[in-house]
């Protein structure tokens, strides 16, 4: 006898702490169990649906959409989607409740159900359902009344009485009651298993989640935990056996599933159309805007080639129906420009002349011979990707709010960012449930490999070091749970800049909810989910450097030496000289330790070198072993090889500019087109498959296709293997060339401004902190080494922002003072404008700062000019003011304070605690006598290669890149500059805590100087004891 069963009530981990398996895992398991369909009913949302849907297509299990709705009385009602109307109603209903409620409490009202019931089918739910809750309290009339409500709302044909059997004592009575109720009401019975995890082994995860939800631990949770492990996916045979006494309940699952045919494929999403003047179509209007823009951009260079490319692109855009999309983006860019907000497109959009002409991107794809197919290709169904870089902070928020204003709260949303359990958070939750002490959990976290470096510390060893040895009775369970919990969703955040918008109400396609940030609405799906389902996303990304450049230009303008971004002279020798010397602190993209170590070897001489530099110091090229061949070829130490001599002639035009090393995604696409005969859309599909993290099957299928097509073209196995390996190695992290060009433009511009507009550039950097790689303290020391003078914060002189005094002098602004509120600062400036401050008492009386603010300003010397020294100011600010300020207390100058002035170390300490920076001596100058044998950073270039020496300094950067095989890079700053050290994995493991917790270090070892890249290969690491200082945070493992 063949059994048939469809599971119509399953929860995934996207029910957030109420389900224990990934939706993908449920889909995969359902496929293994030969279940034809599964209804995913996550709590108050459809969060996991796209993932289940994608995996279900592979495993052969159809997704039935549904959700569990939390009702106002606390009952939980599962509903299933029958039609598109039903889906839209579900999304609207959830959105309405979510936008009305709070993040944690947003119930649906009973009286709302009727309005949104069309196309939905209701089940009566499990033990949390409205009926079971009544029966639990022997409230049979209540149960009947709720059934009636559901019938009224959903209709007689759309209400099913749900029965579950989990092999627990007492449930037979409940099942009998439900069966009687169904009989009395003439409603069909429906069997489900109320699935909460894919396989029995995941029950432990659910129990841990239960503890997390109830703020308790496993030993105390008692009957809050699962009674057994029965709520996993079961086969039709198992379910039929369970309900052999109620076969109709099983049969009804198949019947109902037959009705529920709505699929995410039929979402019906449409991107907004763009309103155009009468007589125009979106196509003609776009063409006009592009041609106008192209003439302005190319001017005399507006050639037939440009025109032809524009025609080609526009006809493809029209054919694919993307005109409205381009116009919407153009409109947004226009808005930004009108509002004086710097904007620049990044990503593959830079491959398009249309985007360049519309002013969306800044680099000319024709000049750089960029491959348009990376952006758009014939046959492509997915939307092109246009990301806009905006200055971070208020200006970006203005653009985001403009999108909300234009499309309404229900028409636009940020994409979600699913916050998952990672190593630390997973063990924290497990540890809490297992009742480990907080100290153990703290130590476990501290022992983590930081940054993107994979775990080198074995989990068991890590547990042991944290205080949970292998013999610990709970160690095994903790380790196993840890593996199961990693990656499961914890809660929903919002993506940093991804926005989705929709022609009709977006809330008809995805449920929306309030983000934690006021004024923001977030969708329930992340950007990959949206992308998979054809919902278009516009990334409005914030770049700190855009803010810096915009401010630098404005400051230059104030001083009559404005140079716009597009006016920055190309090929400026002093700029390249600085870049080659790796003097790049504060610059965009090329300031990291790894970039600095590469610059002296790559020796950029032109813009394209910078493009390569930006792209090459990335995990993809490094892991793919591409960096060293490129650098060797550049130095003439290695022959230029184009992958294989058999295909040299074909690949040379594509790979020549990167010396035969494939660096960019465009090159990968072109290689697949040239070698395998892929067309543009096939090539793009290959790229997408390889960069799609979630599905190995999809990647393997794409590679298999590439192999077949290459073999068909007659390429040897050796060549095919080489090409496939090369493509695979960097496809995941590979950079689009256009993206690298966009970034290199900003990198070069930031370098040029640093050289030629130094005070404006440094002031802007300080005004826009925190951003970039280094702290304000390091930026100031860097500026000082370049001959810039920084004047201290002064209440008599400083503005809120840092200001320029002359070509070599910057006055620190009040913005660098810790704890000084902006509105208090504004009031101070207003009072000063009214009349200069005459004394500390006058200052206190008129500014109305809080006592801590007054003390901080006095401590950092900002009252200099009103007092003899910092302590004098501290003495004076404590003097109480007269009641209403009717009398000035100090008619005569106050007597000198009986306090001694601060010494150098005290001033440094005061600066660090009050501003996290100091324009005075570097702490190392004061600690120098402790380490008389340590070499200064600036002197290291004089030492012979291999010299065993000692360096000492403040740790400003600890890095452990995933590509570095466990090596750790430490940067120590002293009074002369920055010295770098490399720590081998064994030494790091020995000194892990020393390295990660000490602020000052002494490192000994032989010096390595390869092509002016200087490192100490650490052999001994010691702490350098310093009086307690409040130091700026170092850039650690980020």
């Amino acid at each position: 006898m063949t059994h048939q069963y469809v599971e119509l009530h399953a929860r995934s981990a996207f029910s957030f702490l109420r389900g224990a398996s990934f939706p993908e895992h449920l889909a995969e398991r359902a496929g293994e169990l030969k279940l034809p369909a599964v209804a995913l009913c996550d709590r108050d949302g459809v969060y996991g649906a796209p993932r289940f849907y994608g995996k279900g297509k592979e495993s052969g299990t159809r997704l039935i959409l549904g959700a569990e709705l939390t009702l106002e009385d606390g009952a939980v009602l599962p509903v299933l989607v029958e039609s598109r109307t039903g889906y839209q109603n579900l999304c609207r209903l959830i959105t309405q409740a979510k936008l009305r409620g709070t993040k944690t409490d947003a119930p649906v009202h009973w009286n709302e159900l009727e309005e949104f019931a069309e196309g939905l089918v209701a089940l009566t739910g499990d033990e949390e359902g409205p009926i079971a809750r009544c029966l639990e309290q022997d409230d049979h009339p209540g149960a009947r009344e709720r059934i009636s409500r559901l019938r009224r709302a959903f209709g007689d044909q759309n209400v099913f009485v749900e029965v579950q059997r989990h092999l627990r004592r007492g449930e037979e009575l409940r099942i009998r009651q439900l069966a009687d109720l169904a009989h009395a009401e003439q409603l069909p019975l429906l069997a489900t298993n109320g699935v909460q995890y894919a396989i029995p082994e995941h029950r432990g995860v659910l129990d841990v989640f239960t503890c997390a939800r109830n703020h308790t631990h496993l030993d105390a949770a008692g009957r809050l935990l699962s009674a057994n492990t029965e709520r996993h996916l079961k086969t039709a045979k198992e379910m039929s056996a369970l309900f052999r006494d109620l076969p109709a309940a099983i049969d009804n699952t198949v019947r109902l599933a037959g009705r529920l045919q709505f699929s995410l494929e039929k979402l019906g999403y449409q991107f907004p159309t763009f309103p155009v003047p009468e007589g125009e179509t979106m196509g003609t209007f776009l063409r006009q805007r592009v041609l106008e823009g192209a003439r302005g951009r190319y001017r005399e260079k507006f050639s037939a080639i440009v025109r032809a490319q524009i025609d080609r692109e526009l006809s493809l855009i029209e054919e694919l129906g993307f005109c409205g999309y381009f116009l919407c983006i153009w409109d947004l860019v226009q808005f930004a420009r009108d509002e004086d907000i710097m904007v620049q497109g990044r990503g593959s959009a830079a491959n398009s002349v249309v985007c360049y002409s519309l002013g969306i991107t800044a680099c000319d794809p024709i000049e750089y011979q960029l491959l348009f197919e990376r952006f758009l290709a014939q046959g492509r169904t997915s939307w092109p990707d246009i990301d806009l870089d905006l200055p971070s902070g208020d200006r970006r928020e203005r653009v985001i709010q403009e999108v909300y204003r234009r499309y309404g709260k229900h028409g636009a949303a940020m994409t979600a960012n699913v916050i998952s359990f990672r190593g630390r958070s997973a063990m924290r939750e497990i540890g809490k449930a297992m009742h480990f002490s907080p100290d153990v959990l703290g130590r476990f976290s501290d022992l983590f490999a930081n940054g993107d470096f994979p775990h080198t510390l074995d989990l068991q060893a890590q547990l042991t070091q944290a205080g949970v040895p292998k013999q610990h009775p709970r160690a095994a369970a903790a380790a196993s749970l840890y593996q199961m919990m990693k990656g499961l969703p914890r809660h929903l955040g919002q993506h940093s800049g991804g926005m989705i918008i929709c022609q009709n109400q977006l809330s008809s396609f995805i449920p929306l909810e309030n983000a934690s940030m006021p004024g923001r609405v977030v969708a329930q799906w992340d950007k990959d989910d949206c992308d998979d389902l054809g919902i278009i996303k516009v990334d409005l990304l914030g770049l700190g450097m855009m803010s810096v450049l915009q401010e630098t230009i404005a400051l230059s303008d104030q001083r009559g030496r404005k140079v716009e971004l597009y006016e920055v002279p190309a090929n400026d020798p002093p700029t390249y000289e600085m870049i080659r010397a790796a003097d790049t602190i504060g610059l965009f993209q090329i300031e990291s330790r790894a970039q600095m170590a590469t610059l002296p070897r790559l020796k950029p001489e032109c813009f394209y070198d910078l493009v390569v530099e930006v792209a090459i110091v990335r995990p993809g090229p490094i892991q793919g072993g591409l960096m060293h061949p490129y650098l060797k070829r550049r130095c003439g130490q290695e022959e230029h090889v184009y992958l294989h001599k058999d295909v040299e002639a074909v690949l040379k035009p594509t790979l020549e500019r990167t010396l035969g090393v494939p660096l960019f995604q465009e090159q990968m696409l072109k290689m697949s087109m040239d070698l395998a005969g892929f067309d543009g859309s096939e090539a793009e599909e290959l790229r997408r498959a390889l960069s799609f993290h979630r599905s190995h099957d999809r990647m393997n299928a794409a590679c298999a296709k590439l192999r077949i097509r290459m073999e068909e073209k007659g390429h040897s196995q050796e060549v095919t293997d080489l090409v496939v390996k090369s493509i695979q190695s960097f496809a995941v992290y590979g950079f689009p060339e256009s993206h690298a060009i966009s970034f290199a433009l900003l990198a070069y511009a930031s370098a040029w401004y640093k050289v030629h507009r130094a005070p404006e550039f440094y002031a802007s950097l300080l005004n826009n902190q925190p951003m970039g790689f280094y702290s304000s303290a390091t930026l100031i020391k860097d500026g000082q080494r370049r001959g810039l003078h920084f004047l201290p914060v002064s209440v008599c002189e400083s503005e809120w922002n840092c200001t320029i005094i002359d070509d070599t002098t910057v006055r620190l602004g009040l913005c660098v003072v810790n704890g000084l509120r902006k509105e208090h600062g504004a009031h101070l400036l207003l009072e000063r404008m009214r009349a200069p401050f005459t004394s500390v008492a006058d200052f206190n009386l008129r500014t109305k700062l809080t006592k801590p603010e007054q003390r901080t300003l006095a401590k950092i010397g900002a009252l200099h000019g009103l007092s003899a020294h910092r302590r004098d100011a501290l003495w004076q600010v404590e003097l109480p003011l007269d009641g209403e300020g009717l009398f000035t207390r100090q008619a005569a100058p106050p007597p000198a304070a009986p306090l001694a002035p601060m010494n150098a170390w005290e001033r440094l300490e005061a600066d660090q605690s009050g501003m996290n920076l100091s324009i005075g001596k570097h702490p190392m100058r004061l600690l120098r006598e402790q380490v008389p044998h340590a070499w200064r950073a600036a002197d290291l270039a004089q030492a012979a290669n291999g010299t065993y020496l000692q360096i000492a300094g403040q740790v400003i950067c600890r890095q452990r890149p995933g590509t570095a095989k466990g090596f750790v890079f430490i940067s120590l700053e002293d009074e002369t500059g920055v010295a770098n050290a490399i720590v081998v994995p064994q030494l790091f493991e020995r000194c892990r805590l020393l390295i990660t917790s000490e602020s000052f270090l002494v490192i000994e070892g032989p010096l390595q100087n390869y092509g002016n890249v200087i490192h100490i290969k650490a052999q001994r690491i010691l702490p350098l004891s310093a009086p307690e200082l409040t130091l700026a945070e170092s850039h650690d493992f980020r």
Binding site: A227, N228, P438, D439, G442, R855, L874, L879, P898, L994
Partner: protein, 532 residues
């Protein structure tokens, strides 16, 4: 001039934790403050300090500096004991004492006449040393000055010239709020001498009366009344044997003497004993396994040779708060009394069957007193006729079957079938009219008579349904069955359990509950049902 003595137990928490482990002072050990994620070092031994471990350091940084460091949480119970010892011992110096802070108290010495304060202070230090405590004593003309002196004493310091002494005292050592100390540090004031040089009135004008009080301290002029405390009303006696003992007789002899003393004191204070805590100190080095970890069989006979147990026997009664160096048990006196004989019988009954793995080196008896109960029972109450006798009977039962097997059943909050624990009977409730609340509100189905322990059984299945059942109690063809019912839990450690249960009906109409546990079948119980 009146004199005050401040007695300080430096590294109070560390002393409390290591008090009975002298050898531990030579190891790198640190006490962690607070049960927080970032536990911080509170105090540490000298070897730890030499490795660069400092108070306030987070645990991970301390471990980074000293990988061999052993981190120990604060021992609050031991700190309480040491606090009591501090007050008691100080109480032997003067009746006017102040419990100033943790590990610090001040005594008013107005009634003490000492020709040589130095010598006197050293005598007090020795008194503390006898109690295995390191004390520092400062003697000065006012309480705050004495406290500061105690912080600088090695081990005793008599302040004859306050000005000279205070000049070198760090501001942080004075009694002031952390905010005020931070502010003064920003001012560059690091020592009390520097503070004393500031103009007092201007200081108060700026920083208020708290700064004024600190200035008075700095100037050595702070006079204040002690916040006198009464010595804690603790009734306890302790005795250390000259040599480890082997039989019960010396122990019982000492305990009777101790009880006689204690009941005498109780009678003088019109109090009676409500609870006794018996602590037997054991000869055991730190790190050795505790008696409860050694395992072994239970001693049944009232062996006179109490210690040591050659077969590693566990005590017949579960100790209430044991550590490797002691055996401790709390006895609730069913009907509080001051009768020595009644109290002694309770102890004697318990000791008759106690066996320990280590030899006792001392015994401590502590009594929690209450005022004698003068209430009268109500007319319809039926209290226990003699609660103490009932308690004694329970004690004897515990001696026979083990303390873990005597008490009132309380169902546990778990799905595990028949899981309960025994809790000590509440005599007040037993004697009164209150009835224990039922733990389960609803009972479904037929009453079940459980077999404890369950009886081994055999079951035959056909197509996953029981068909034949056999056990010592019953056997026969299964004509109907309900199940399986599955429950499992505590999967997170070695106590994981899992049951599969069936309710079966045999051909004679009898109903049984059977279960499968750890691969074997058991007859769990018989339903109270009319036979067909």
């Amino acid at each position: 001039m009146s004199w005050f003595a401040a007695i300080l137990l430096p590294q109070f928490s560390l002393q409390a934790a290591l008090r009975l482990h002298e050898e531990a002072w030579s190891q790198p050990i640190a006490i962690l403050e607070g049960d927080t994620e970032k536990g911080r070092v509170l105090e540490m031994t000298e070897p730890a300090q030499r490795s660069g471990v400092w108070p306030g350091m987070v645990a991970t940084q301390a471990l980074a500096r000293c990988p061999a460091l052993r981190l120990v949480p604060r021992a609050h119970a031991q700190e309480e004991v040491v606090s009591t010892l501090l007050l008691e011992t100080t109480g032997t110096v003067s009746p006017f004492i102040e419990a100033t802070a943790e590990g610090l108290c001040v005594a008013d010495l107005r009634q003490v006449k000492a020709a040589n304060w130095e010598q006197w202070a050293c005598g007090v230090v020795e008194r503390f040393a006898a109690r295995k405590l390191r004390a520092c004593i400062g003697v000065a003309s006012n309480p705050d000055l004495a406290v500061l002196a105690a912080r600088h004493a090695e081990p005793a310091l008599i302040v004859q010239h306050p000005g000279a002494f205070l000049a070198g005292v760090a501001i942080s050592e004075a009694d002031a709020s952390p905010e005020l100390i931070t502010l003064l540090r920003d001012w560059g004031i690091h020592h009390l001498g520097e503070l004393a040089r500031l103009p007092r009135s201007e200081l108060i004008e700026r920083l208020g009366p708290a700064a004024g009080a600190l200035w008075e301290q700095a100037a050595g002029r702070a006079q204040r009344e002690l916040r006198l405390v009464r010595l804690p009303e603790t009734y306890w006696e302790t005795y250390e044997f000259e040599h480890p003992i082997e039989t019960t007789e010396p122990l019982l002899f000492i305990l009777r003497r101790q009880l006689e003393q204690l009941t005498l004191r109780l009678a003088e204070a019109y109090r009676v004993a409500a609870q006794m805590t018996l602590t037997i100190l054991l000869e055991l080095g730190w790190g050795q396994p505790s008696e409860s970890e050694t395992g072994g069989k239970r001693a049944v006979a009232s062996g006179r040779k109490l210690f040591p147990s050659t077969d590693g026997a566990v005590p017949s009664s579960a100790p209430s708060a044991n550590s490797p160096d002691r055996y401790e048990r709390v006895f609730t006196v069913p009907s509080p009394t001051g009768d020595t004989e009644v109290l002694f019988r309770i102890l004697h009954t318990h000791l008759e069957s106690l066996q320990l793995a280590q030899q006792p080196i001392g015994v401590r008896l502590r009594i929690e007193p209450i005022t004698a109960d003068a209430s009268q029972f109500q007319l319809f109450e039926s209290p226990l006729r003699d609660p103490n006798r009932f308690g004694e009977t329970l004690g004897r039962l515990a001696a026979l079957v083990g303390a873990e097997n005597v008490g009132v059943v309380q169902m546990e909050d778990t799905y595990q079938p028949d899981r309960f624990r025994l809790v000590a009977p509440q005599f007040q409730q037993l004697a009164g009219s209150q009835k224990p609340e039922s733990s389960e509100s609803r009972t479904l189905g037929l009453p079940l008579h459980r077999f404890r322990p369950p009886l081994p059984a055999q079951i035959h299945f056909q197509r996953h349904v029981p068909t034949w059942f056999s056990s010592l109690e019953a056997q026969g063809e299964v004509i109907d069955a309900l199940g399986p019912y599955r429950v499992s839990g505590q999967w997170w450690d070695q106590h994981a359990w899992s049951f599969e249960e069936w309710d079966i009906e045999l051909s004679d109409g009898s109903l049984y509950r059977v279960s499968k546990h750890q691969g074997s079948w058991f007859l769990e119980g018989c339903y109270d049902a009319p036979v067909r």
